[in-house]
Amino acid sequence: MTKQQANWSPYDNNGGTCVAIAGTDYCVIAADTRMSSGYNILTRDYSKIIQLVDTSVLASSGFQADVRALQKVLAAKHLQYQYQHNKQMSCPAMAQLLSNTLYYKRFFPYYAFNVLGGLDREGKGCVFTYDAVGSYERVGYSSQGSGSTLITPFLDNQLKSPGPLLLPARDAVTPLSESEAIDLVKTCFASATERDIYTGDKLEILILNASGTRVEYMELRKD
């Protein structure tokens, strides 16, 4: 008797790419706005980014239904935290919360590939990168999603990171200025759009710094 295969999967991949770069006093988080399923585009104008706290922004690619559920869970937990502690969560705290939230669905994972960007308590940029079940790491820059294999090598080249295991521990944040980092992000997406069918339409960029949050948009190729 042949093994029966499931003919329905609870998951789908809506594609898309997310990038985040941490600077000395800013953080840039960007994602494209295309949502696809297989070879179809479902919409050209879907935001994958959510601002959970003044100092924490989450960008997620993957299965957007799971992403939306994850965003709601995190927002609710943050609200509870605020009631209990009378203050907002810091970015590293939110990072660990996200890791635990993902791991609690270890046996039925959120199909979400996340990048969390923000400012730590000292005002320095921080970026945390995750896998689908919650393993995370603080890094200077990161890319997740369908275009990540195209963008990450480029960022490796441009934002050469000091060896992470050096002593004394050196900052992974880039010395680039805010506008240079934004240009870099735009370049990344322009290139990724050329070669990745799931990336394109429009680019949404969130910039966090001491004076608050700012949004910028850039048109990308629609084919």
């Binding site: 093994k3 029966q4 295969q5 499931a6 999967s9 609870p10 998951y11 890791s99 635990n100 993902l102 791991y103 609690y104 669905k105 270890r106 046996f107 039925f108 994972p109 199909y111 990168t129 896998d131 689908a132 079940v133 919650g134 393993s135 995370y136 790491e137 890094v139 294999t149 990171s161 992470p164 295991l165 992974a172």
Partner: protein
């Protein structure tokens, strides 16, 4: 004197739907309603694609325990990270190494750190490396067959001096003076055993 039976409670409550209220209880995990649970887990693991390609090693020497690990995480042929911290600090005097599933190792080591701290508070003294490794091994044994992938070494310094244990997700736990874990372990053993 009241004996503390907390650690003897069933580690893995499978069908718990309640959120994790108390830190000391084991987290309860939602399970998918699937006819083929094993196959579903295999697919989920494929999707998660635990970072493979690791070499970690540890050995006891005259002055303590030496622990070493590389920092590459690979998914098939793609290097997903060059800066993974595979040596995890469970507490200021105990280290764990990561091999297998990154999230599994990170989460359960953090959980072990919490349990060690609770032990300290309940018993007014630090937990031994033997005790800590047993705690972890029991947890992993209770999740045996569910697709966790953990190959770790617990290294530390306690009242008896340096301690080193190997613990894995099959439920194995070995005491020893020299271990290497991961896909690069045969090569590490070659060097360790010839020196």
């Amino acid at each position: 004197m009241k004996i503390d039976f907390n650690q003897l409670e069933t580690p893995a409550p499978l069908c718990g739907t309640k959120e994790h209220d108390e830190i000391s209880k084991h987290p309860s995990f939602e399970l998918p309603v699937a006819r083929d649970f094993d196959g579903f887990q295999k697919d989920a693991v494929q999707m998660v694609k635990p970072a493979k390609g690791t070499t970690t090693l540890a050995f006891i020497f005259k002055e303590g325990v030496m622990v070493a690990a590389d920092s590459r995480a690979s998914m098939g042929g793609y290097i997903s990270s060059q800066s993974v911290k595979k040596i995890i600090e469970i507490n200021p005097y105990m280290l764990g190494t990561m091999a297998g599933g990154a999230a599994d190792c990170q989460f359960w080591h953090r959980n072990l750190g919490v349990k060690c701290r609770l032990h300290e508070l309940a018993n007014k003294r630090r937990i031994s490396v033997t005790g800590a490794s047993k705690l972890l091994a029991n947890i992993l044994y209770s999740y045996r067959g569910m697709g966790l992938s953990v190959g770790t070494m617990i290294a530390g310094w306690d009242e008896k001096g340096p301690g080193l244990y190997y613990v894995d997700s099959e439920g194995g736990r070995l005491k020893g003076t020299r271990f290497s874990v991961g896909s690069g372990s045969p090569y590490a053993y070659g060097v360790l055993d010839s020196g």
